[in-house]
Amino acid sequence: MLQAKNLNLRFGRTVALDRVDIEIEAGEIVAVMGPSGSGKSTLLHLLAGILRPDQGEIYFDGRQVHSLPDATRSRLRLTSFGFVLQFGDLVPELTLRENVELPLRLLNVRRSEARRQAASLLRQLDALEFADRRPGQVSGGQAQRVAVARALVHRPAVVFADEPTGALDSVNGELVLDALTGLARQQGSTVVVVTHEARVAAYADRTVLMRDGRLVG
């Protein structure tokens, strides 16, 4: 499903990734762990096609990702990937419901259908009652649950989660992880989750470790 070969990336003189090889199967939940600055978020950004490697190859479903132009990679992210970031990163100007509808609207799903699907997912996540508020008007845990809904509403093949519980307490963190992994398994989506917390890695099928830009286990 997702394969990276010999990935190298530098930021100036800093080596962010050094000869990284990784392969992720369809439906698998993989946790990428490591200390701060080990390169785990950078690996996620490369696998998701957000950044380009200086060297190396990335394949999604057998298709080259690393050589695609910006616009095509954007389209790939929209159609096939979902994202949950540390602070949710919902669009602050839209209501929570509109945030969840957004990927569907961008994929030209009819407004009424987008609204129905978004409401269904928000209901599953117990987020429907505050869905008409904006991100700035709800708690961090509530916003993060809505971010999970936004990441999964268009049934992506892969969900990338970067420290999804980093800003949450343990109760809210568990709620978010339950939602993310539960829905992903239900939909058959692959999940790549970057974390430095062992309790997050416990939700994964497999854990890989990174240190100083290299995979060490």
Binding site: S41, I50, T79, P92, R105, R111, Q137
Partner: protein, 759 residues
């Protein structure tokens, strides 16, 4: 308190690259603002001084005739050398101890001239000037008698019996009020004095755009600053302390910029007397800005910037948590539209005048309306944009980019209007100002080409020698006709006296060759747009026993070169006609036809040299009067200043906006929103308020100009016809504005590792 001041200074001086950019932009804005304000204030003092000198040399005429005690007579002729206007004042009846204008030790006797220093230089170096003034130059005019150092001005002595001065009233002294012109019509000088107009132009063209520009600069990095202030509040800093920090942060930069502006003015002012703005030139002594004004400008600029900066971060001080979490801003109140409405109502009242106010009060009311409306346009924009965004969301069929744009406008209703306010104000200012410029330019219309590309002029009186000389100039035709006043059936009419050769040159005569010297004819003409002369179907009676019976032969004449009153004749008595009874009337009216501008210039030189009191009237490139030139220059310069300020403010705001939005745009791009859609939503975000702003500004300018036209008694239709160019300008502003938003937004879509790290 000192620690908060220190913190403010620290924040203003060192906040990374974005902070440094903001510091540079804001201090540059303050410097430019102070420089422009000081320049405008000195323009007011220049205009006032020039107006006073112009009035001091304006002749005061006697009510009637020439009393024995006051034999001085004057006629003022507008001429030009190249594109430089020249005023030639012919004087007769100069007596010792008689009145004289300021700056002139003694008025010239016949054959003498007193000229301005600039004209004296030109006489020495330029043939065109030398040939115009063959008189002996006996003195120069002092600065006190001139408006500007480069003015071409001459007093030329002529004989007391000069026919051109015969009709002139006696001059009792100098120092009469000036009459000001608007378009081709005269306006009350109480309403339309140059000093007052300069002050209004200053306020309109400099203060309003400058206010917007400084406000834009003071609000740079708005969301970053809001977050910074909110962070301080969450740390435990009180609202007042946070306001103080913010005020110091803004004030330090504003003071630095303002002082830089004063230094720039102090450096430039001494150099400026050698400069000119259009036709406006000045003496160094006119260029004074009192110290109190200087202090007021500094205080006002810094105070304004600090006030805007502090008021703008109010939400961060009052609700810091909401700012940190990106909560939506409060809905803008409808009260924001009241100043605009109030200003327009005031302007409309000044134009329609249902209150029966006097002209001066109406003028003040209009100016108040104009300024309040100018300030009201940007103030009303958030409320109007918010309403439009709400409408788009309710419609429900809008594309995603437009929905995103509308959602952003409603989330932060003041941001986009702040971005586009400068362009909206620019359109308002240019809309009102360009109508003024157009009206002024109409007053000083230059060359008009006649149908056959010939240039037609007239001179009054006839000088046989002059006529002979003119006829020797290649490309010049000089045609003379005498005009006798007669009465036909009790109605006043004219009989033209000329040789048939002259008549055939002046008119197209039908039937051809039907005019025979010695004959007398009724004239029939069909001049488009002119009232026909009375038909000579009754005997004509003139002075000195002239008695012309009803004539049987009729000539139909069409205009060729014979312009003016000569064309109104009802009768033609050719030279040698027995009906003249031996009379040989002198030619009253000479028409000069030039084949090209060079020949016209040559004719002007000859006329000026031979008959200094004679006026070559017609299409000659002579601008009329002092006021319209000055006002035209001020209006044009003001429009330029305004344009620079407004476009500068917009460009600064657009760049700042792009920098501020990069983080949010990166968030959208991560989840796969295409760069095109992100750019489109940014364009929609700025474009909707921009369109509303331009429409509001355009409509406001229409109301103001229509009221101005009514106040000045000028046909509103004529004024509003000129507004078409402003509509094009508005469309252009929309396109340029959208491009200035789209291009930076488009080119900064690439996601960088730094943006991801910040997320």
């Amino acid at each position: 308190m000192s620690r908060w001041i220190r913190l403010g200074i620290r924040l203003s001086l060192g906040s990374g690259r974005a902070g440094a950019l903001r510091t540079v932009l804001m201090s540059s804005g303050a410097a430019l603002g102070v420089l422009i304000v000081l320049s405008c204030l000195s323009a007011v003092s220049v205009a006032t001084a020039q107006q006073q000198r112009a009035q001091a040399r304006t002749p005061q005429y006697a009510e009637e005739g020439v009393p024995a005690s006051a034999p001085l007579r004057i006629i003022e002729i507008d001429d030009a050398i190249g594109d430089r206007p020249l005023r030639r004042t012919a004087v007769a009846g100069v007596v010792p101890g008689g009145p004289r204008p300021p700056g002139v030790a003694a008025l010239p006797q016949p054959g003498e001239a007193v000229v301005s220093p600039a004209l004296a230089d030109l006489i020495r170096t330029d043939t065109r000037a030398r040939e115009r003034f063959p008189q002996r130059v006996v003195g120069t005019i002092g600065d006190i008698g001139l408006i500007a150092p480069d003015e071409l001005w001459a007093y030329v002595g002529v004989r007391a019996n000069d026919p051109h001065l015969r009709q002139q009233h006696a001059v009792l002294g100098f120092g009469a009020p000036l009459r000001a012109g608007f378009g081709s019509q005269l306006a009350s000088p109480d309403v339309f004095t140059p000093a007052r107009i300069t002050a209004v132009a200053f306020a309109l063209f400099a203060l309003v755009p400058l206010g917007v520009f400084l406000a834009t600069c003071a609000r740079l990095s708005a969301s970053t600053r809001d977050r910074k202030i909110a962070a301080l509040r969450l740390l435990g800093v009180s609202a007042r302390q946070a306001a103080l920090v913010n005020a110091v942060e803004t004030g330090v930069v504003a003071i630095g910029g303002a002082l830089l502006g004063v230094a720039a003015y102090a450096a430039l002012a001494p150099l400026s007397p050698g400069w000119r703005i259009g036709r406006l030139h000045w003496f160094a002594a006119d260029l004074t800005v009192p110290a109190a004004w200087l202090a007021a400008v500094l205080l006002t600029t810094v105070g304004y910037a600090v006030t805007v900066g502090v008021l703008a971060t109010r939400s961060a001080r009052v609700a810091p948590l909401a700012v940190r979490r990106g909560a939506p801003a409060r809905r803008p109140g409808w009260w924001r539209t009241l100043p605009l409405l109030g200003g327009l109502v005031a302007a409309a009242l000044a134009g329609i005048d249902p209150l029966r106010l006097d002209t001066t009060d109406r003028g003040y009311l209009l100016v108040t309306g104009l300024l309040v409306s100018g300030l009201g346009v940007p103030l009303a924009l958030p409320a109007l944009s918010y309403a439009l965004a709400g409408l788009i969301r309710r419609v429900g069929r809008a594309p995603v980019w437009l929905e995103l744009a509308a959602a952003r406008i409603r989330h932060t209703p003041a941001v986009a209007p702040r971005l586009v306010a400068s362009l909206a104000v620019s359109l308002y200012v240019v809309g009102v100002g360009s109508v003024g410029v157009a009206a002024m330019a109409n007053d000083t219309a230059l060359m008009q080409s006649s149908g056959d590309q010939r240039l037609v002029y007239q001179t009054s009186g006839y000088d046989r020698g002059l006529t002979a000389e003119l006829r020797r100039v290649p490309g010049i035709e000089a045609l003379g006709v005498a005009v006798l006043e007669v009465t036909i059936a009790g109605e006043p009419a004219y009989a033209l006296v000329a040789e048939c050769a002259e008549v055939n040159r002046m008119f197209v005569v039908t039937p051809a060759k039907s005019c025979v010297d010695g004959g007398a004819y009724r004239l029939a003409h069909d001049l488009i747009g002119q009232p026909n002369a009375p038909a000579a179907d009754a005997p004509a009676v003139g002075a000195d026993g002239l008695d012309v019976p009803v004539l049987s032969r009729t000539l139909r004449v069409e205009e060729r070169h014979g312009a003016g009153t000569a064309a109104f004749g009802s009768l033609l008595l050719t030279r040698g006609s027995p009906l003249l009874g031996g009379r040989n009337p002198e030619v009253d009216l000479m028409t000069v036809v030039a084949q090209n501008p060079v020949a016209a210039e040559r004719a002007a030189r000859l006329v000026a040299a031979r008959t200094p009191a004679n006026l070559l009237s017609g299409h000659y490139a002579a601008r009329q009067g002092f006021d319209s030139d000055l006002l035209l220059t001020i209006l044009t310069a003001g429009l330029t200043v305004s344009f620079i300020l407004c476009v500068g403010a917009f460009a600064v705001a657009a760049v700042d906006r792009t920098m501020e939005r990069r983080r949010d745009s990166a968030s959208l791009s991560v989840v796969g929103v295409s760069p095109r859609l992100v750019t489109a939503s940014e364009v929609g975000f700025g474009g909707l308020p921009l369109a509303i702003g331009l429409v509001t500004a355009g409509l406001s300018a229409v109301v103001i100009t229509a009221s101005l036209a009514r106040l000045l008694g000028v046909d509103a239709g004529v004024v509003l016809n000129r507004f078409a160019s402003t509509l094009w300008l508005g469309a252009g502003a929309l396109v340029v504005g959208l491009a200035l938003i789209a291009v930076p937004a488009g080119v900064t879509q690439r996601i960088t590792a730094e943006q991801l790290r910040r997320q």
